[in-house]
């Protein structure tokens, strides 16, 4: 609201007042109901006096009369403008709002977390997560880093191996120095913990948003356990995961510096052991990392506007730009110059520079810089300087003489960084086809978090999740909004919803006497990519699981140029595999099923049959669902499920039907966030009521069948697999 007219008017009033001789402000001259000397027509609170016309949210309504600003009618700590239930102190967000947020920001909504978001509101939850304690606050507390936990798991599962060169526990030497292909398995176990949370290590995975962002970053700054050398050094991937998780709410420039120096990336994109040109041998520096650092990790192939669209007119602030022109952001010459910078790095402790088949170097650490092997252009008669993207600097620039920071700085200064990274993170978390304005808003924060800092990921993530495009439930009905769920995330969601825990007592690795100890507290599922078409840190190439520009063969998507990358990997056979895997898991890894129904065995006995080679050594339970079902059925939870065949005399409705309705209401909440359509519910209900195969002479089993089948059907339906 423009303050000027009010001031002018006030001035005039004073003049007139002075001139009238009767003293005081005359309100006969102008309409000013609240007597604040500001005419009603100019007053942003015409009925409440507010001389300063303060309007913090600039919406034309002054703060003193604006219900949306700082007001908190129900006093629940959530401002009315954010509060979906401004009159109810116990709620601030709807179930749907909560579910949508948790789907974007965690590895899957749980009922308790849904209830928490409902209670405190979406923004409060986001802030809570952004400020949550992490494994990186202290190196000696109980919240373990990925690497610490991976080492713990390795020793737990395989206690008799000499994990250190000096022996089993001689941990002042390097862990897994000699390499062992089982490390990938334990690294995956650690990954599961942080995604699924852990019953006895509750800190693991408590920082869901941080871990989810780290997972998104792992699909941008890709390294993979499928690499022939990293295959034997899974601990390197845990170390790398720590870099991503630690910097997830840090700064992107710091992140780039750390991954560039990591042994993991050095091995994956082969700048470890890269050395200066040797004209006599006819060798020159390897271009691998140099190229992908530019093309994939920072600025991409051509110039972008602030909104991520191609910059065709050399002005990043105007978009979209007309025409077909593309301005390439780098050339082959830039790659060659960059490759010279990326020399001189080696694994710490490597006995011979650049040795790659080595049991000497440290894979879970930074690399070290050895100037002797760094490019200096002396042999080729060059000047020891390189020019990248038009900036020239000395190859030995920087405190460590590596030129690495100077090189990354050049890329970092490029205006592509903000839109390139922002857009990527939005598409991993929220929606595949963000609006131009959404990308621009987030990129603006990337460029400057409000305090003059570029690359503040905490601010960027906050901006992504708090943006109206992400939060407004109206987005559910916007056709182009949303994304196909990654199969792995659909899987983790299922596990989290049904309170997954490790299946304790499975058989670890043989010791020297051939005995295998029983393992507790460790999730075991080494190769989810066998079943889900993808697995964390197991991308087949540095280009991740799917192409960012994948447009499915569908008229609507083609015509509107909409992408759906996650659909690229859910191909015909993968869909069968996913379906079958859910089917198999739900039929064999549910606690009540194991202990009371089919197997009638103890969990321990059941676990003993499993080992590091078993898939999903994990346990879920339908306890809550069985309770809800039985309560509606016979009013108690004593597990007799009586009344299964009876009809309620009061309303003539079969108890079984009531139980099914109660179940569906619950599953709608916890699996779909109350987005189940009426038709969907009607069909599912009809099936559950009528399908003969669900019936059993054992009422407990019948209830279980109904629950399991519902969960299976929901999990494999498009309603579940599409995130809106």
């Amino acid at each position: 609201m423009n303050k000027q007219p009010a001031v002018v008017l006030c001035f005039l009033l004073i003049l007139s007042a002075c001139g009238s001789g009767s003293g005081g402000i005359s309100d006969k001259i102008i309409d000013d109901d609240d007597h604040d000397a500001i005419a009603n027509t100019e007053d942003n609170c015409p009925l409440v006096a507010n001389l300063d016309q303060a309007d913090a949210d600039n919406d034309g309504k002054g703060d003193v009369c604006d219900p949306s600003e700082k007001m908190d009618k129900d006093g629940d700590g959530v401002a009315d403008s954010q509060d979906e239930y401004p009159d109810n102190a116990s709620r601030a967000a709807s179930v749907t709002s909560a579910y949508r947020l948790l789907t974007q920001a965690t590895f899957g909504a749980t009922e308790s977390e849904i209830d928490r978001v409902v209670s405190i509101g979406t923004f409060s939850w986001i802030d809570e997560q952004l400020n949550k304690a992490s494994a990186y606050d202290s190196s000696s507390d109980k919240h373990k880093t990925h690497l610490q936990r991976t080492i713990e798991i390795s020793k737990t599962v395989d206690p008799s191996r000499d994990w250190y060169l000096g022996g089993r526990d001689n941990d002042d030497t390097v862990f897994n120095q000699k390499g062992n292909s089982q490390l990938l398995t334990y690294q995956m176990s650690d990954w599961w913990e942080n995604a699924l949370s852990h019953p006895t290590n509750p800190r693991q995975g408590s920082d869901q948003l941080r871990q989810r962002v780290a997972y998104a970053l792992s699909q941008l700054l890709v390294t993979s356990g499928l690499d022939p050398r990293l295959k034997k050094h899974g601990e390197s991937l845990s170390y790398y995961n720590d870099i991503l998780a630690k910097n997830a709410f840090g700064n992107y420039r710091t992140l780039l510096g750390e991954i560039s120096r990591s042994a993991t990336m050095g091995v994956y994109l082969s700048h470890q052991g890269n050395s200066k040109a040797d004209p006599e041998k006819g060798t020159r520096p390897d271009e691998n990392f140099a190229r992908e650092l530019i093309q994939l990790f920072s600025i991409g192939l051509y110039d972008l506007n602030l909104d991520g669209s191609p910059n065709r007119d050399n002005d990043t602030s105007t978009y979209p730009d007309a025409g077909d022109n593309l301005i390439p952001s780098y050339t082959q010459s830039d790659v060659e110059e960059m490759s010279k910078v990326m020399t001189g790095w080696d694994l710490k402790g490597n006995k011979k520079f650049g040795k790659t088949r080595t049991n000497d170097g440290e894979y879970a650490n930074t690399m070290e810089f050895i100037a002797e092997y760094h490019e200096d252009e002396i042999a080729e008669g060059g000047d020891g300087r390189v020019t990248i993207l038009g900036t020239t600097f000395a190859l030995d620039a920087g405190a460590d003489g590596s030129g690495l920071d100077q090189a990354i700085d050049v890329l970092y200064r490029h205006s592509n960084m903000a839109p390139f990274i922002s857009r990527n993170l939005i598409t991993r978390l929220v929606t595949s086809n963000p609006s131009s304005a959404y990308v621009a808003r987030v990129a603006t924060i990337f460029n400057d978090n409000g305090k003059g800092v570029k690359g503040d990921l905490k601010a960027v993530i906050g901006a992504i999740l708090k943006d109206n495009e992400a939060r407004d439930n109206a987005s559910i009905n916007i056709a182009t909004f949303g994304k196909v769920k990654e199969p792995i995330l659909a899987w983790t969601q299922l596990l989290r919803t049904f309170r997954v825990t490790p299946l304790n007592g499975w058989k670890g690795v043989k010791d020297e006497n051939g005995n295998r100890s029983l393992v507790n507290g460790v999730y075991m599922y080494a190769k989810p990519d066998d079943h889900f078409g993808q697995a964390p840190f197991r991308a087949k190439s540095v280009f991740n699981f799917y192409n960012t520009d994948y447009v499915p063969s569908d008229n609507y998507f083609s015509a509107n140029r909409l992408v759906a990358p996650e659909s690229q990997i859910q191909t015909d056979q993968t869909l069968v595999d996913i379906n079958n895997r859910f089917n198999y898991f739900l039929g064999s890894n549910e606690k009540n099923d194991i202990t009371k129904l089919n197997k009638k065995t103890t969990l321990g006995e059941y676990a003993k049959k499993r080992s590091i080679y078993s898939a999903h050594v994990m346990l879920i339970d339908f306890d809550k669902e069985l309770d809800i079902f039985e309560q509606a059925l016979d009013g108690d939870t004593n597990e007799d499920f009586s009344n299964m065949e009876e009809i309620d005399p009061k309303d003539k409705i079969p108890y079984r039907e009531k139980a099914i309705d109660a179940l569906l209401k619950h599953l709608n909440k916890v699996m779909l966030g109350n987005t189940m359509t009426a038709e969907y519910r009607a069909s599912l209900r009809e099936y559950l009521l009528s399908a003969k195969r669900l019936r059993s002479s054992n009422d407990f089993k019948e209830a279980h069948n109904i629950i399991r089948e519902s969960v299976q059907l929901i999990t494999t339906s498009s309603a579940y697999m599409i995130q809106k």
Partner: protein
Amino acid sequence: MKSSTDKERRRFIKLLASGGAAGALGSMGQLALMSEATAANPEFSGYKAMVAVFFLGGNDSFNMFIPSDVSSYATYKAGRGNLAIQRKDLGLASIANDIKNGTLGKGAANLYNVNGQQETAYTKGFYDLAASNGFPVGVNGLMPELAQLITDKQASVIANVGNLVSPVTRAQIKDKSADLPLFLFAHNHQQRALQTGQGDNLNDIGWAGKIADAWAGVNNSSPLGLNISYSGNNRMLIGDSTSPLVLKPGKVPFYRGMRKDHNLGEDDRRAIFKSLSGIASEASSSTLNFNNTAFTDSNPFKRLYGNMIDRSMTSFDTLSATLEENSINYSSKGPYGEDLFANVEAADIGFSQGLSGSFTRQLEGVAQMIDLGAKDAFNTGNYKRQIFFVTMGGFDTHNNQATRHSALLREISLGLWKFQTAMQELGHEKKVTTFSMSDFGRSISVNSGGGTDHAWGGHHFVMGGAGDRSAGNLNGGKMFGNLPDLTLDGPDDYSKKGRMIPSTAQDQINATICEWFGVDQSLISKIFPNVSNFETTPGNLSSAFLEDLFV
């Protein structure tokens, strides 16, 4: 540094019809492209299959096929240094019968063996085919089976092939008048150019996808369609209205608990499953009936997913039923006496580690699908055409090339032999043409990590036929195209590092094979619009094809 020339800028202008690039490569899908589709469904007399083998990452084919004459070899050796294959004939003739009879010597008995190390086996020598075949290149010692295929005239080599828009010379590169493909040396873009069939348009759909679009209704509208991939949803096979069936090697699965016409309970399950994803239900024996149209979701994402599920279910209904009734037991053995498609052991090949076996497994799947198609086990009444896509990964050998490439070469050779043997045993060898592609060849110069970098031209092979050079079949045992001068900074070098300027475009090979496959010329010129730039007789499209590749 924006030193784009006019020519390069014109290249970029051809990119993207309008704004809204969704990513580095922009989005695809010009629905109007196939508006004047050629005749919907040509009549084919017999069954034919194309098998595209893509080496992901850029295969160093200059170490697969090594110049054997003294002076060419010297040039090669000067550039390659320690990574050069030694000029030493290992003597293919001595093991020819062993390969065929499955009695190939194991372990140290392998001709390429030095000390049980694959790195040294990599460079030990090659199979000289000059005397027997007039072949100017030898085949890497780790690939005796491929050498034998060439000798038996069931495979040919095309020299110095690469992604090209028009012919390019070094002089043109130097004066910046060359019509270069977009984003040379970048993996995903070079792969993409080979998928779209256009070095100057990375936003189009795939060329095999366009064939499928044009041949709508092929194979009597079998749900399996024209294109089958064993390696993911690859753009080469994606059309505007068609997309490939994507399978994995190994046992073909079925939807658990939802097999078609299996029993009442499973039918019920199918009905509800489809209904919940908005898929129209089939007339089935299901006792339950859901009104699917009630919630055909207007949400395009849900509809997309529903269609994906529908297609998957229909395909696997067909496949698993057919496969149950048609299993294959090969009597032929592999070179070491193993079951034909079994993976060889490390001890057999004399390596410290075994081979991944992924390539062989994919080809086993292809062989089975070819057999089913050729016999029309799907009972379509007119099953005549199939394009298969398989890949091998790991070729981006920036370092440790001797270790990594050796395993890959051994696997290529064994895989190709097993597949060709299977085709012969099943009687389909004249129906199938297999050909290679890769992002690019690699630099002749070597880097400090014992590897090579992204380059351009490289050699490729084509395999098929009965080895008799009969009409309509592969002209096997020949070298096509022109061997490049491998001198660093020499007349065929893009720059100074030994990145060879290709003299044959991949489009030319692909067009020639498509012609054999029955794609008519007007469709060929649509799917490979740049191939006419290679006409030796202007206006005569055939003159751009590889003359004599097929007899």
